[in-house]
């Protein structure tokens, strides 16, 4: 996994493990979990302040080590789930931040959007890139009467 941002390998592993608990992969819907490497990079890149994300990951790992004796990513799935639940309760601000970043990254992933019947592009106006130099999209605007009042 290439990591263009400041998270360490261990931090990315922890983030991926938590993201997969928040949204696990689904065979039924044919979608990856939020811990998928591409999505995870997008989660990390979405943080406004990387230091704040690192702090939240640190809190999760500290909680795992204190209560279950190992870093979060090394716990078995039951212990991870229990730790994640406790993290939501004890560190609500950090959990909410990671949750929001996860949703923002996951639901714009092209595979996830395809499973929802969407193309990965803005819906309006069609969201396609117009041909270079073609300004015909502006024709209706040019034909329209002015919306403004001219200065006397």
């Amino acid at each position: 996994m290439t990591n263009p941002i400041a998270l360490t390998h261990d931090e990315m592993q922890t983030l991926a493990a938590l993201a997969n608990i928040i949204i696990p992969p689904s065979e039924a819907y044919g979608v990856p979990g939020a811990g998928d490497p591409e999505i995870c990079l997008s989660i990390a890149a979405g943080a406004r302040k990387t230091e704040r994300l690192q702090q939240a990951i640190g809190e999760l790992n500290a909680l795992a080590e204190t209560t279950r004796g190992a870093p979060f990513a090394e716990l078995d799935s039951n212990k991870r789930a229990a730790t994640a639940e406790q993290f939501q309760h004890d560190h609500a601000g950090s959990a909410n931040m990671i949750e929001a970043l996860t949703m923002q990254a996951y639901y714009r992933d092209r595979r996830v959007m395809a499973s929802l019947g969407m193309e990965p592009r803005p819906p309006f106006p069609e969201g396609y890139r117009p041909p270079e130099g073609d300004w015909s999209l502006l024709e209706p605007v040019r034909r329209r009467a002015p919306l403004f009042r001219k200065a006397d």
Partner: protein, 264 residues
């Protein structure tokens, strides 16, 4: 001047001098007073069948059925219901999680698909009342990077606005259920919107109880005109930008038509 409901009183209150010891244009003592927002209630219905979802204009229908005062409702003034389209993918997820309709874990995908393209609803834009104790003053300690005192906001959501939102949630829930919603979510007030800034340099003819006159000129300073949300005397139950624009045009016309005697 056009710094809106917080920036305008902040500037005026910071502009103290021997001639204006309480701040510029503040002989009435009303600069910064009567701060109004728009408390918003959000009500969303989840339907069994697929809807048009996130496509279409954001705000399609407005209703002012409950806009005017009706004494039987237990509050004065009223609200506009703005019916919105459904939510795009990320917002569906965020809303579902916040209202515990979508959970972490194995159930996430089924939870999500029960909401996505199946949710629509409305917001109620409630008319906040002008109240003297809701105000912008200068913070005694906090300063910006230039050392200028920062604004300090004191605001208490009134019982009138709370009752108005409760009414809106009840009526909107009724509407959504009648339309076939199998589940209704509500949030009142929302925290992510409605922070329209109004009322802190109110307009009026009497210099004793207003900051600018009926055409936007300060009562105290003849070459000072204010054209922003601070000159509103009431907040109305609609978003304020169009009214601010209309007031700016109106005040500009007044200035132009009165050029010969503008500063008399």
């Amino acid at each position: 001047m056009a710094s809106n409901g917080i920036g305008t009183p902040r500037l005026l209150l910071n502009s103290k001098s021997a001639q204006f010891p309480d701040g510029l244009a503040n002989s009435s003592g009303l600069v910064g007073k009567n701060l109004m927002f728009h408390p918003y209630a959000m009500i969303q219905g989840i339907f069994d069948e697929e809807l048009d979802g996130y496509e279409g204009p954001h705000k399609a229908i407005r209703s002012q059925e409950f806009y005017e005062t009706d004494p039987d409702r237990g509050f004065v003034r009223g609200y506009t219901l703005e019916i919105q389209r459904g939510m795009a993918p990320v917002r569906t997820a965020m809303t579902g999680l916040r209202h515990r309709r979508i959970r972490w874990g194995e159930s996430h995908h089924d939870d999500y698909r029960r909401m996505f393209k199946r949710t629509t609803g409305m917001v109620a834009v409630c008319e906040d009342l002008p109240e003297l104790h809701n105000q912008v003053t200068l913070d005694p300690d906090l300063r910006d990077s230039d050392g200028i005192p920062a604004p300090k906001i004191d605001y208490t959501l009134s019982d009138n606005s709370k009752r108005m939102m409760e009414h809106a949630v009840e009526k909107a829930s009724e509407i959504l259920k009648a339309a076939g919603a199998v589940d209704v979510l509500s949030e009142a007030p929302i925290t992510y919107g409605g922070w329209h800034l109004m009322g802190t340099a109110r307009m009026g003819r009497d210099p004793a109880n207003s900051v600018v006159n009926e055409w936007g000129r300060s009562h105290d300073v003849k070459n000072l005109f204010i054209v922003d949300g601070s000159i509103f005397t009431t907040s109305a139950g609609v978003n304020p930008t169009n009214t601010i624009q209309a007031l700016a045009l109106y005040v500009a016309d007044q200035m132009k038509n009165r050029l010969a005697t503008l500063f008399d």
